[in-house]
Structure formats: C-alpha cells, structure tokens
C-alpha cells in the first residue's frame, strides 16, 4: 500500500491543534438520504443545523410519496428529489455528485431517522485529517446497541475481514454514519453501488483496495425515532448470506 493517496497527516503540532480552524475553512456537506421520512426529517435537520452551524445540509429524497422533500426545504435544507426510489446507494451517489459539483471538501452521511447524533460530526471531521474515510461505529465502546444471532455473526465476519484489509480495527462496517474527504467524494460521485450492503461494505472494500485509509471513531447510536429494524430469524439468515456474497463480490470485482 502506498501512502501517497492518504490525506496528509498534520506534520507540526500547530497544525494538529487547528482541527477547529480546519472545520471552519473546509466546506462540509451533510448528506441525508431519505425515503418517506417526512415525520422525522424536520427534526433531524433542525438538530444538525443547531449543533453544526458551519455545515450545509442536503436531503436526497429517494422517491418519497409523503412530501419529504418539501418538509426538508421548509426546515432549511437543500432537497433534491429522485423521480423514483433507488435505494440508499442510489441516493448517496446523487449526494456525492452534488458535493463534487459544488466543491465540498468533506461529505458526511447522516441517516434521516434520527439515530445518528450530529454531536459526533466534529469528531468525524477531526479524524479525517488522518484518514480518507471515517466511520461512526457502534460496538466501539460508546452506547449500548446490541444484536444477536446470524446478524451478529455477519457483522463479526465483516468487521474481521475489513479490519484485516484496513489494518485497523473496524467494528461496525455497516454503519451509515460516515465522513469522507474530497478524493473519495470524487470516486463516490461516479461509483457507488446501489445493491443491498453495497453502499456500506463494498464501498469500504473499494476504498481500501485503492489505497485510501479508513478508520473509525466510537459513537453512541440512538434508538430510531420512528420505525423498527427487521429482526426475524429468517431475515437474519438472509442477511448473513447477503453479507458473504457482497463481501466476496467486493473482493473479486475489478
């Protein structure tokens, strides 16, 4: 692995201490993929803008039928509306395209259901001085999020393999709370898989195989404000199978 692709590490103490200043000089875009989240999106935007006055918020309305985009616009965000539902990966590629076209330095994905706490965003940004992609990870000390059964085996398997690839501990490879730098914005604007798990696992594998540095910071995730995650045993097994397939394909694909 070469070091040339990595974000330059701060080489003086003064530079290391300017995380705060970098946050102000760098243009940061929060990308919120949203599908029928009209009930929670307003609160999420208000919270992000309250906690982080230096960022812009882009809501990618993924073919919602409940007026998510209009709610987002009224809450003060920029909203792009896809004509039909593409899935998280589809929404994110559009978000990265917008970030690239508008010259943002940092793009951060935040889910529309309110489970990601924007208070961690400054930590993600600070960690970007060392890495190209930073994951806000559960299971890394903070919070008390628990899963069991096949879903847990899948997550263990994924984090084991990806930690080897990344040469650093990654405990939550399927987290949708992540930040990336300009170079990865350019990559993701053209290439971002739309398949299930592709938007999280495959993008990590691709970034690592291209020599980008990936790291994580521990975050506490909140309970989803609305809606429940699917947790039936059959679905969990299916999830395990798809995790294997996605990982295998990501490793062998060109």
């Amino acid at each position: 692995m070469t070091d040339t692709l990595h974000a330059a590490a701060p080489d003086t103490a003064a530079e290391a201490a300017t995380g705060e200043a970098a946050r102000r000089t760098q243009r940061v875009l929060i990308i919120v993929p949203a599908w029928n989240e009209a009930e929670s999106i307003g609160r999420v935007i208000a919270e992000v803008e309250g906690a982080l006055p230096f960022v812009d918020v882009l809501v990618v309305d993924d073919g919602s039928t409940d007026g998510t985009a209009a709610v987002a616009r009224n809450a003060g965000a920029v909203a792009v509306r896809l004509p039909y539902n593409l899935g998280v990966g589809g929404a994110m590629r559009l978000g990265y395209k917008y970030a690239r076209d508008h010259g943002y330095d940092i793009a951060i994905q935040v889910d529309a259901d309110g489970q990601h706490d924007p208070a961690y965003v400054p930590k993600l940004i600070d960690a970007l001085s060392e890495s190209a992609l930073v994951i806000g990870a559960r299971f890394a000390g903070e919070g008390d999020y628990r899963v069991r059964g096949p879903r847990r085996w899948a997550m263990t398997m994924l984090s084991w393999v990806l930690s080897r690839l990344a040469r650093t501990k990654l405990t939550d490879t399927t987290s949708g709370f992540r930040a990336c730098n300009r170079e990865l914005i350019a990559l993701f604007a053209d290439w971002y898989p739309v398949e299930y798990l592709g938007d999280t696992v495959e993008t990590l594998v691709r970034a690592l195989r291209l020599g980008f540095r990936v790291s994580q910071i521990p975050v506490a995730m909140r309970q989803r404000q609305l809606g429940t995650p699917s947790q039936s045993p059959a679905k969990a097994m299916l999830y395990l199978g798809r995790a294997f397939l996605t990982l295998f394909l990501a490793l062998v694909r060109r």
Binding site: V60, V80, R81, L82, P83, Y84, G90, L94, Y98
Partner: protein, 121 residues
C-alpha cells in the same frame, strides 16, 4: 410426414411473427438479426427434421433431435444471460438519468425562486 407439416408450419409462423415485429420496428436491429437467423434454422429443421442425423452421429449423439434439443437449451440459457446483462445495463443508465433529472429539477427550482425574489423586490 404429419410431423414435418406440424414443425414446418410452426417454423413458418415463427418466422412470420419475427418479420412482422421487425417490420413494425418493435425489435432493435441487433435482436432482429439474431431472431431471423434462429427462425431460418428452425424452418430448415422443421422441414427436414432428419437433416442433422449424420452430424449427430458424428458427434456421438444418438440422433439429430437430441442434438437440436441440447443446442436449443444452451442457446436459451445464453439468451437469458444476455437479457440479464442488458437489464443491468439499462438500470445503470436509468439511474444516471434519474440523478440528472433530480439535479436539473433542483436547479430549476432555485432559478424560479431567484426570479420570484427579483420580481418581488
């Protein structure tokens, strides 16, 4: 003899159907060429079902019908695979279009907002 009439008539109907689809521009040229080729082969075999017998024996297959069945199945598998590939490609293309539409719509909204502001002031 009855079998030959049945298969020959079926082949003719098939070929006629393809020709009609091409004539009405319902099939893209690349598919039209493929299916007309298939239609001609089906017609030939329909009229002379035993034509492939000696080829089959040369391959070590009991008779021409088995050989046709084998190649037919292989051909259909390839066609299915090709269609999946085409569908994936089309999805990629429509995804790009959807993104473009979303970005254009955003720019249009912003522009009309700006003109409204200007006319209001």
């Amino acid at each position: 003899m009855n079998l030959t009439i049945l298969t020959g008539a079926t082949a003719l109907l098939f070929l006629g159907f393809i020709f009609e689809l091409v004539r009405r521009r319902r099939l893209r040229e690349k598919y039209a060429v493929l299916w007309i080729f298939v239609g001609v082969i089906v017609l030939g075999l329909g009229l002379f079902p035993t034509a492939l017998n000696h080829v089959a024996i040369a391959f070590g297959v009991a008779n021409g019908v088995s050989l046709v069945l084998f190649f037919g199945v292989m051909f259909l598998l390839l066609v299915c695979l090709h269609l999946s590939w085409e569908a994936s490609r089309l999805e990629d293309e429509t995804r790009v279009l959807a993104e473009e539409v979303a970005l254009l719509r955003l720019r249009m909204d912003e522009q009309s907002e700006r003109t409204e502001e200007r006319s209001a002031s």
